[in-house]
Each structure stands twice: as C-alpha cells, then as structure tokens.
Symmetry: D5
Subunit: 126 residues, 10 copies
C-alpha cells in the first residue's frame, strides 16, 4: 500500500534556484478492475525552495522505497499520479513540482498522465 | 460504424488541473473512395474539468471499443479526426482537448491531422 | 514541368480550426546547372479556412500527381519550394501554410528550405 | 587559409520571407595548439532579405569550396564559428543568420558553438 | 578533491554575443553515503560577456582536468552540480551559465540536476 | 474470409536464382476468442524456381488484396501464418519460402511465428 | 509463487515444422537477498512437435498468468530462467525450446541468462 | 533507358582478394503498369578478380550515370535487379557479385530483391 | 589495484548447460602513460560447468566490487581485458568464457578488445 | 603523404589468442581526380600472434599519427584501404587482419571497402 511515511527529505544545499528530475523506470501497481499488474515509468521534476526558506529535496533511497510501496496497490493511472504529486508536495513544499507517469499499453492503448503542483509557468503542452 | 454510445466516462479524481494522453497505435478504417483499409495512430490529449465542476475522464476500455467501431467505416482522414474530437468533447466537456491522427503512407505521402476543442493556449505549430 | 492545374481541392468538413500535414518522401527534380537529379522530402502543413468561409483542403491524389510533375523540371531548391507554396496558397487560400523541403546532400552539404504563407504566428526558428 | 573571396551569392527568388539551412557534415580544420585535425559539422541558417531589397543567398558550390579552405587553418572552435558568421553576413547582409558548429570530442569533451547575426527573435536556448 | 585552481580562461574573441556548450560524458565521483562510484555526463552551456567588457571562455583542457579532480570526491548529485556552476561563474563571470548533470541509474532511478547562473531568460522547463 | 483465389503470379524473369521479400506492415485479423482485432506485420521471402522450370512470382497487388481478405477472419496467430505459407506455396511452388508474422502485444506479450516451405538450408535460429 | 498448473497448451495446427516466439516485457520477481523487486524481459522461443506426434503450443493467456505468478517470488536470475525452461518443456515436450531473460541493471551491471532444452543445433553464441 | 555503355571499369589495384560495396540511395524508375515513379536503394557488393587475372572495378561516376539512366524506364522490381546484375557482371567478370534493391512501399507493402552472380559461398538467408 | 580476492562464486543451479552474460557499463581505469582516466564497458559471457561437475557462477555484487578495484589502476586496454579473463577463469573454471571491453574514444579512435578462455566453438568474427 | 614509419608496435601481453579492434571515425584524404576531400571511417581488426612467437600490437597514438598522414594524399578508396592493410600487416605480422573503410557519400553513392590479410576463416559476407 502506498506509504508516504517512507519518504525522507534533506536540506537543499543552496539558495540559488535549481531543478531536479528523478526518472523511475521500474514502477508497477495493480489494475483495480482486473487485478492484473500495470507497468510504467514515473518522472518527478521539481524546484526546491531556497535553503534560507527551508527548502528540501526528496532523498533518493526513500523515494525508491516509497515507489515500491505501490506494488500491491490497486489504483487507476490517474489516482496513482495525483497521489504521488500530493505526497511529494506535502513532503517538500517545493517552488513547483511535476509528476508524469508513462504506462505501457493495455489493449493497444498506452497512456501518459501529467499532474502539477504550484504556479504553472510552463503548463503541459496540448 | 462509429458508435459514440460505446464511450463511457468516470469522475475525475481531483480539482487540481492535470493532463491525460491516450495513444492508440492500432486504428484502422476504410478509404471511402477505394474501399482499401487505412491504418493510423490516434492520439487523444485533454485536461478534464475540476471534479467540483463535474469533470470526467474517458474510460479506457470504452475508448478502445469506440475506436474499434471505425473498422468498417469509410471516411476521409479529416472527417475521422473531427468526429473523434466532437464525440469526446461531447462526452467529457473537457477544459481542452486535442485529437491527432497519424496515417501510414498512401502513394508515397503520409498525413497527420490535428483537431482542437476549447480555448487554444497552445496551438498546433506550423 | 510543374503543372498546378493537376491540383484539386475539396470542401473542408468543419468550421472548427484544424491543421493538416502531408509528407511526401519521394520527391525528385533536376539540378538546373548539372542536369543531375535532386531528391528530397516535401512537407506541407496548413490550416484550412472555416467551411462557412469557403475553406478547402488539397486532395491527396491530385497532390501526388502535382508533385510528380516536377520530375523533369530543372529548378533550384529555393525556387521549387516557393513555387509549391504559391500554387497551394492559390488553390486553397488557407488561414496559413508552410512548405518545407529537405534535400539529400550534394557535395557533402544537405539543405532545408522553409517558405510560409499567411500571418506568421509561429515563425521558423533560427 | 579561410578565403571569403570563394563565396558567391545569387539573387533571392522572392519577396516573401523564407528560411534556408545548409548542413555541412564534413568540416575539418587544425587545432592551433597541437596541430592535430579537428572534425565537425557546420550548420548555417538564415533568412534572406526580400528580392526587392537586394536580398541574396549563398551559392551552394561556392559555400563548399569556402568551407574546404579551412582545411589547413589552425584556429580555435570559437574563432572558426565567428569568422564564418562574419564572412556570410558580409556576403549576404541577411535579415538574420545563425552559424552553429558541432565538434567531435577531444579528451572526452565535445563542444557546440552558436553565433548569431541580426536582431535576435529566437536566441539560443540555455 | 575538486580543485577550481585548475581552471583557466582565455579572452573571448568577439563583442558579438554567442553561446558555447561543452559536454563531458566521462564524469565520475563517489557517493558520500556508500563510497560507490557515481557516473554521469556534465553539460556546461554559457554566453561569455563581450570582449570589450572583459569576457572570457573556459579553456578546454583545463576544464577536463578540473572535472577529473572530482574522481575521488564524495558528494551528492546536487552539491556537485552547484559547485561546478559556482566555480565556472567565478572564473568567467559570464552573461549567463547553465550546468546540467545527467547521472546513470541507482536502484532503478536515474537523475538530472540543472543549475543556473545569471538572469534567467530561458528557465528549465517543468 | 481468406481467399486464395485472389492471388496471381507472373513468370519469373530469369533462370538465375534470386530472392524476393515482401513486407506488409498493415495486416489485421480478428482474435477467434475475443473478437478483438489483432495487428501485425507479414514478411514473405522466397526463391522462385528457374524460368525454364516454370517458376513464378506472386503479383504485388494480388498479394495486397489477398492479405486484406483476412480482415474479418477470426484465427489464431499460428493458423494465419501456416495458411499464408500453404496458399503461397501452392500458388508458386517456389524453391523455398518463409512466412514470418510479427504481432503487436496482447496482455504485455508480443509474438512472432515463422513457417517454412521446402528444404531448409537456413532454419530459423533458436 | 511460480505456479506451473496455470499453464495450458493447445494442439499445434500442422505437421510442418514452424517456430514460435513470445516476448514478455513486463516481468517482475524479487531479489532473494534484498527483497527488492527485479524487472526483466522473458523471451520464449520453441518449435512444437508435429501435430501427428501430439505436438502442442503454450496458450498465450495462460502464459501471461504463469509469468505473473513470479511477482512475489524471491529467486536469483539463474533459477528463474531454468525454472521457466523446465515448466514449459514439461508442458509441451517441444522439438526444442530456448528461454532468455534480460534483466534491468543492478549496481551498474545488467544481465542476460539463456537456457536451452532439446538437441542444440544452434547454441547461444559466445 | 538503361544504358550499360555508360559503365566504365578500372584495373583492380591488387592481387589480394578484397570486397567493395556501393550503396546508391537515390534510385528511381517507373512502374510499367501505372507509370507512377518507384523509388529505392541499390546496393552493389562484389569481389574483383585479382589484378594479375585482369580483374576490374566499376568506376564510381560511371555507375552513377548508369543508375540515372533508369529514370524514365518502366520495369518491374525483379527485372531492374536482374538487369543491373547482368550489366555489372558483364562489365567486370568479378569473382562474385550481389545486387540488392530495397523499394519504398506501394499499397502498404515494401519489397527487397536480391540477385547473385558467381559461385554462391554465402547465399541470401531465408 | 585489481583485487581478485573480492570475487565470489556460487554453485550453478543445474546440470543443463546454460549461458550467462553480465554487462558493466560503468568501468574506469587509468592510462598508464598519461595518468588520464579511461572509461569503458566490460561484457562477461560464460557457460558454467554442470552442477554435478562442481560448476560455479560469479556472484553479482562481488563482480561489481572487483571491477571497481580497477579504478586507480594504470593499465593498457589489452592487459585489463586479459587480466579479467584470467581472474574469472580461475574463479569459475567455466566450460568457456569470453571477456569483451569497449573503450570510449581517445584521439578520435575507439577500441574493442575480446579475450577467450576454453575451446573456441564460436571465435570472434573478423 | 602516408608514412608507415610513423607506426609503432608493442609486445602482445599474452600467448592466449585475442582480438583487437580500433575504429577511427575521423579519417580524411583527397580524391585523386577532383582534389576534393574524402571523409570516412577506418576500422582495423586483428589477432596478434602469441607473445612467445613475437606477436605485437600497433600502438594507439602512432596509429593516429599514421592515419593523419593521409590528410594531403590523393588516392582512390580501394588504394587507401589496401595500403593500410599492407602497412599494418608488415608492422605486426598478425595471425589475421581486416581493414574496412566506410566512405561518406559522393554523388548519392556511399562505399565500403574491406581488405583481408592472412588465412580467411571468416570471409566478408556477400
């Protein structure tokens, strides 16, 4: 079951704005309808707040364990994506955050979901 | 024959704006002139309205059956694209929607059609 | 000899703006200096005017025959590109039109020419 | 030795703005420090002035000979790029011009230099 | 240990603004937690100040030696990236500078860090 | 329904042995269990008998119509492949013939079937 | 837990030798040492015995369920590969069978295991 | 019209056996049925006889002119391929020669023809 | 310094012959001439002896640590490759073993070294 | 002018047979007819004789200087390839040696030349 208590953060090392992206290509959860496994890639991209404003970054190993906690979870693509966005936003309170999930095909259709947090200076293109 | 009654939607899970893309690589219809089959890829990209505003998302299996209903339909590329756009816009009334079809070559020419619904903050590039 | 009388158009099926792209990878003409054949790809991208404004789309087979009519024509890359742009603009009077030609290398240099018609909301990037 | 007198131009065929790109993948000069050969690709992209304003385009064969004249020249990446930009700007006085050089790796580092001429409506991205 | 005294600069050859990118694909440092080696690519992109304003460019061989000085350094991705940005900004005082590091996967997650210096006319996209 | 009477052959033009391959990327049939469409690529490779021995080659347009006749046929991958092999072997009586079908994924598994006719001097590798 | 009772076979449709390959890109099991998930691709390639000799082929959906039954299994790469080979050989008694597993990287090392059944006319290359 | 008198050969420079391959990606002829142009790639691979045995190699520019002479020729794929093989075999009398033509798709089917001359130590694979 | 005492092996799980390949893309050592770091990929491929004959397989984590022990070693490509082959052959006494190293370019030349152990049923191709 | 006296060799480190490949992607010479530069890639692959039989390997930096000595040489593809083969064979007297040159296109035709030394256990395929 997704467990946000697994997530840990560390202080960002600078006041200068910078951007971090983590790409986890080995994500799996379960389809809530059929029980069959879904496989996908989770891309997390964010700008931490400045160090002087208490900005933090998610710690890499804790992120891995958190994403592994979806392994036995039955949830739709849309819910998984929004939940990861919410958990990471709560953990880090970043300047902005984008979570994108790319799912392998089901029935000949493959899907991508993109969820944002914070003021949108660069919205997902059409 | 294209059958929009096959389409089903479910309530969007959040008020936060997010974007969904479905790519169906196994689309086929018939050329209305020659009767020969056309093959293409249909890409559907949209932002649902917020949950509190009654926003909905197209259900994946119903989308698959709807797209399969074009198998015996004779229609030009342009009409197919505009029809899918209209049917999905009516189903979901999304914040915006883009439908793109990429057709395999005929006579050495391959074609792409892009149709939009809703205010265009990101028009197709030239 | 390029023959614009081969081009035919049909009424656009909708008032909603949409965009059409045709990519012809099998284009050949002759170098006016050496008489040797040139080979390239012609990409045509346009937005038809609304149906209620008399908007039209170029018919695919007539486009193929028109492009084949350059087979024995000796003309520089730049002239070929501008001529196709002019002929299609006259045929369809579109909202906008872009013609791009990508030519295979000559003497170790390969070239791309891009010509526009109509108000430029998305100029070729530098 | 680079010889700009090799460059020739011809009258642009139209008043309508259009864009030309030439990519020369077979460029070589010498490193001024070590004397070892450098290899790279030179990309030249420009918009000629309108025909009625005396706009011209560089002739392709003369461009090839001009680029070959760097074969025995010892010059740093930065100087080569700025020199080509200056010579072509003087030849054509274009609406705008961009010269980009992509150099094969030296010591595990490969480099790209981009130099502009004219008002910058599309600056090199960061 | 990272040693910024290895870095050397030379005078930029022109007053015209231009952009330089160096890509070093053979970067390695150590993970401060586990001591295991990290491998990545470092991309440095900047616009030197005009020659008349004392603008300089980092010399390529000195950059190579500087990057090699991280070989025995234990530091997190974020710190490495910010340090390279700071050292190069101090060396060249450029119009702007971007440093991006792309790290090979650890535990199924690969990461990219992007740090900027100077007024941001082209911020990292979301 | 697959209709081998659509197939036509023409006399091979030479006594010298040669090899012909046709790749049809736009093949579709139906799954006999679910009725859902299957999509795949059919590769046909053969050596005609010598002209003096009555050797023939399948005519390209007739092959296209024959493959289209599977559009409403419900049949397993294995049966489709063996049937095409048998129909073409009967039509041409070639020196040898190989039919390979590559099917798009179903339930996360994609399949390839290879069927041979004639003495096997080059069996499918393991 | 791997469950070979999930596997089902159907009669091969022909006496003519042919070859079948199934590629399952969405395989996951657990590392028996760390408990962390492993991800890989399983490729199964075999030649069924002739129909008249009681030859059978593994049914696709049963194969999918069988491979999913490894989801909670802790086993080394080598054991997983040999087990799949043994279970399928027992099910089908094929003329020959090859099972290959391609595993995503761990600690910067990615692995491939290949196991054969039956007389080896085409051994894995060095 | 194909004109083998355009072909010229030069003496091979050595007695040691070696192999030459020429790939012409810009080949075009006409379909004898429809008159529409066909486009393809011609690959010529051969081993000249030893110099002391009068071995020769086809001269590159003459080969280019010879291939251009098919531009207005209406001929099937199979005939074009066999004719090029025969003309080159007669010109050079090589130890062996292979001609392969790869044709762009027609009606969703693309074709490859392979014709050999001389003792076949390496026949086209199935 | 390369330390073969870091290597550990485990008993092979079966008597049936099978093949294992490990690809380590993050290898680095030092050039013995210049002291500059070399980067490469190490591919290890072997067939263990049967379990009943005492066959063993190299343990993955120990292999990683062993390869890391080359980090401060100055050695030519050829010596590194032969040393890894010898150390692994002594550890496992396999039926056969192949070690291939692919090195990133130096001075515009990139190199590959292939070393074998055991009877060569599949020698490196020319 | 090609200068084989630039080549140096070092003693092979082992009696065990192994294979070395060097790929030089930055080769240039001159066309003896037109004087225009030719660009290509030179691939050298060989098996040194055993150390106890006086086997040697070409030294990498000397190979680089030797290949650079063709920069002002006017020679046909075939002669360049045979000359490199002869010079390296004389230097090392290897068990076997293959030299392959891949030349960028001229007049729409690109060429590959392959020359062997020593008993041919793996001749170039047709």
């Amino acid at each position: 079951m997704p467990d946000s208590s697994l997530l840990e953060a560390f202080e960002t090392p600078t006041d200068t704005p910078f951007v971090i992206e983590h790409v986890a290509e080995e994500f799996t959860s379960l389809c809530p309808k059929t029980g069959h496994p879904d496989f996908g890639t989770v891309t997390i991209r964010f700008q931490p707040r400045p160090a002087s404003a208490g900005g933090t970054c998610v710690e890499l190993k804790s992120l891995k364990l958190y994403l592994q906690s979806f392994r036995d979870e039955g949830a739709f693509y849309e819910k998984v994506t929004n939940l990861i966005r919410d958990d990471l936003a709560e953990l880090m309170n970043p300047a902005w955050l984008r979570v994108r999930t790319d799912w392998k095909g089901r029935g000949g259709i493959r899907s991508t979901i993109t969820a944002d947090y914070g003021p949108s200076h660069d919205p997902p293109e059409r």
